[in-house]
């Protein structure tokens, strides 16, 4: 192809030649961005997954939905009554109020969500923001607090409730520990570096610890390079704007975390939402994007990026990664995978959803994760090809303006990761991952047998138990605390209004006795509060479970 470019009649013949040569060479013709080539007879969907993928999203019987609405109706009526009394001065106002001098201005404090906060959230507020006073390991200590005016103010009695079983902390591998032997290197680094960095990554905040950590993260995940940031939320919200901008398209899952949503909105790109884990919805959006292009000008999108999470923390469902990767390859989109909850928690050696499905980490363009959940530290990382990470080092808001990770925290992540990879000479890391898998399967199996409605994949350590009725949210959390078990209950703004739930996070540090205590308490409470809505207990449908699934039964 040594033809010099000859301009003839204004056309570059060189260009034509190139196109023809392309056709002759590989039989592949590029037209409109879609390659028509020789395609291998595709793998059928059944063999994309190397092991069974079972997820449950059972719907409650109809009477439950009706009674939930009855409960919300009564709550709303009394809310209006109380608001009326507050507006007319019959009752003391405890919320923030306008100043007298500004009464004629546009109101600052009124909208519907405040109605819900004032009238329903305030009544059960004692179940959230409970101060703890020990490390959030498998058991922790709570400070006891009481309220004299129905949750508007609290005061501490001075007592601590000791050894409450912790079913709420994201401590999947149990690295939140205070054992001095385990923290030897962290103490050493603390004495060597101190705690403050006092600078950003681009100025003087890059230490040798950061370089060591980034190399270790890249090795752990099997990618070329990685970059670490001081805060997990900021990793998402500050780096997505650096990767996409105006003229790009973001396809984001319905139930993505607020950090992803914030990052997507800040970037200025067009956002389209597909139904949760629904590949048909995603494919339809991809096809429409490629066929119709940008809204008014009909030009091709500059970039199409798919935002998904590894494990969704409110549902406990795992992303269908093989199908998304095949879609991404077919339609030439990019994939951003947020493994906040799945890194360390799933996969045979704890390397996240990519390992769980047996896939190649090169298939995912941007691997993001946090160190808060499984590593007992704080911060986040973004990993991928070296070009991507080098770009982020210069263009990310977080790198330019945010303080970098402090050295003892970096050392904690290094020691946890080395433990997981087996580089410290013991098999403790692998044991933790296996213990987490065992605990997860045992916990979920027992809850299914008891008859509760549990959402999510059988392998995810996040276990949401559905409560539905607003009255039961408060009753459940309070009674579990009386039995010395700390749980997290979630209601309206974070979940759909009729599907409030209690979310359990199983940890590798939980022993079988602790799980049994929790399960017995749940059994008792489930009977008393009538929470066992499931119409299919496991024992009545044995054909739903494959025989070749591993059941770790002791």
């Amino acid at each position: 192809m040594a033809n010099p470019s000859a301009v003839c009649n204004g056309h570059l013949h060189h260009h034509h030649h190139q196109k023809q040569n392309n056709v002759l060479k590989s039989g592949v013709c590029k037209k409109n961005g879609i390659t028509k080539g020789v395609k291998k007879n595709g793998v059928t969907n059944g063999t994309l997954y190397k092991k069974t993928f079972i997820e449950h999203f059972e719907q409650a019987p109809m009477y439950v939905a009706v009674l939930t609405f009855v409960g919300f109706g009564v709550g709303t009526i009394f809310g209006y009554l109380r608001d009326f009394m507050r507006a007319w001065g019959l009752e003391k106002r405890n919320v923030a109020q306008e100043r007298e001098q500004q009464k004629d201005f546009v109101p600052l404090y009124q909208d519907f969500e405040n109605f819900y906060t004032r009238n329903l959230y305030m009544r059960i507020r004692d179940n959230w923001n409970r101060p703890i006073c020990s490390v959030p390991g498998p058991q922790f200590d709570l400070m006891e607090r009481v309220t004299d005016d129905y949750n508007w103010t609290f005061r501490f009695t001075g007592r601590t409730i000791k050894n409450v079983i912790n079913m709420g902390s994201y401590n999947y591998l149990g690295f939140a520990e205070t054992d001095p032997n385990a923290l030897k290197t962290v103490t050493k680094e603390l004495q060597r570096y101190g705690t403050g960095i006092c600078s950003t990554r681009q100025e003087m905040g890059t230490l040798d610890k950061h370089v060591e950590l980034e190399n270790l993260v890249a090795k752990f995940l099997g990618v070329e390079d990685a970059m670490v940031f001081g805060m997990g939320f900021a990793t998402n919200s500050m780096n997505i704007p650096a990767l996409v901008g105006k003229g790009c398209l973001i396809l984001s899952d319905e139930l993505n975390h607020t950090s992803l949503v914030l990052g997507a909105r800040l970037s200025g790109a067009t956002i389209r939402i597909f139904k949760h884990n629904n590949m048909q919805s995603l494919e339809k959006l991809l096809r429409d994007a490629i066929i119709y292009g940008q809204p008014r000008s009909r030009r091709a999108w500059r970039k199409i990026i798919i935002l998904v999470e590894g494990i969704y923390s409110m549902e406990g469902s795992i992303v269908q990664l093989p199908e998304i990767v095949s879609l991404k390859k077919k339609y030439k989109a990019y994939l951003y995978l947020d493994e906040a909850h799945s890194i360390g928690a799933v996969g045979a050696t704890g390397r996240g959803v990519v390992e769980y499905f047996g896939m190649n980490p090169d298939d995912v363009d941007v691997l993001m994760g946090t160190f808060t959940k499984s590593f007992g530290a704080a911060g986040g990382y973004i990993a991928g090809k070296k070009g991507l990470v080098d770009f982020l080092r210069t263009h990310s808001h977080s790198a330019v303006y945010a303080t970098s990770m402090c050295p003892p925290v970096a050392e904690q992540i290094i020691r946890a990761m080395k433990c997981l990879m087996g580089l410290d000479g013991t098999t403790q890391g692998l044991q933790r991952v296996r213990q987490l898998g065992k605990n997860t399967r045992y916990f979920r199996r027992r809850l299914h047998e008891m008859g509760f409605i549990i959402y999510g994949n059988d392998d995810s350590p996040v276990v949401p138990l559905l409560l539905y009725m607003p009255g039961k949210i408060g009753a459940f959390a309070r009674r579990m605390l009386e039995k010395n078990i700390g749980v997290v209950v979630v209601g309206f703004p974070a979940t759909p209004i009729t599907e409030s739930r209690a979310r359990f996070c199983v940890s590798a540090a939980h022993t079988r006795e602790m799980l049994d205590t929790v399960l017995n308490a749940l059994d008792e409470l489930g009977d008393f509060l009538q929470l066992k809505y499931s119409r299919y207990s496991k024992s009545s449908h044995p054909e739903l479970y494959e025989e070749n699934r591993f059941e770790f039964e002791d």
């Binding site: 009674l67 009394f78 129905y150 009725m469 009255g471 509060l529």
Partner: protein
């Protein structure tokens, strides 16, 4: 023994009612208001049933063995009007 388990069962039913209608979350004076309202509605319902029920029963029995009365419908409506006054 039976009375005790009966009382426990009734207490448990009352707890379920409290949980479902969110009266578990209410302050005491709100609970009083809510229960008064409910009890009043139930009493009114019972009273209305007590008044209307015998009329329905007697009308039902009146219709059974006479198929040839053409003005039975007229008589029934007259009876209903006289009872409700």
């Amino acid at each position: 023994m039976d009375i005790k388990s009966m009382k426990n069962y009734l207490y448990w039913l009352f707890c379920q009612f409290e949980l479902i209608t969110c009266s578990y979350l209410m302050e005491p004076w709100e609970k009083v208001l809510f229960y008064t309202f409910n009890v009043t509605m139930l009493v009114m319902l019972a009273y209305t049933a007590y008044i209307i029920f015998p009329v329905h029963i007697s009308m039902a029995f009146q219709f059974s063995p006479c198929p040839q009365h053409s003005s039975s419908a007229y008589r029934v409506t007259a009876q209903l009007c006289s009872h409700s006054c």
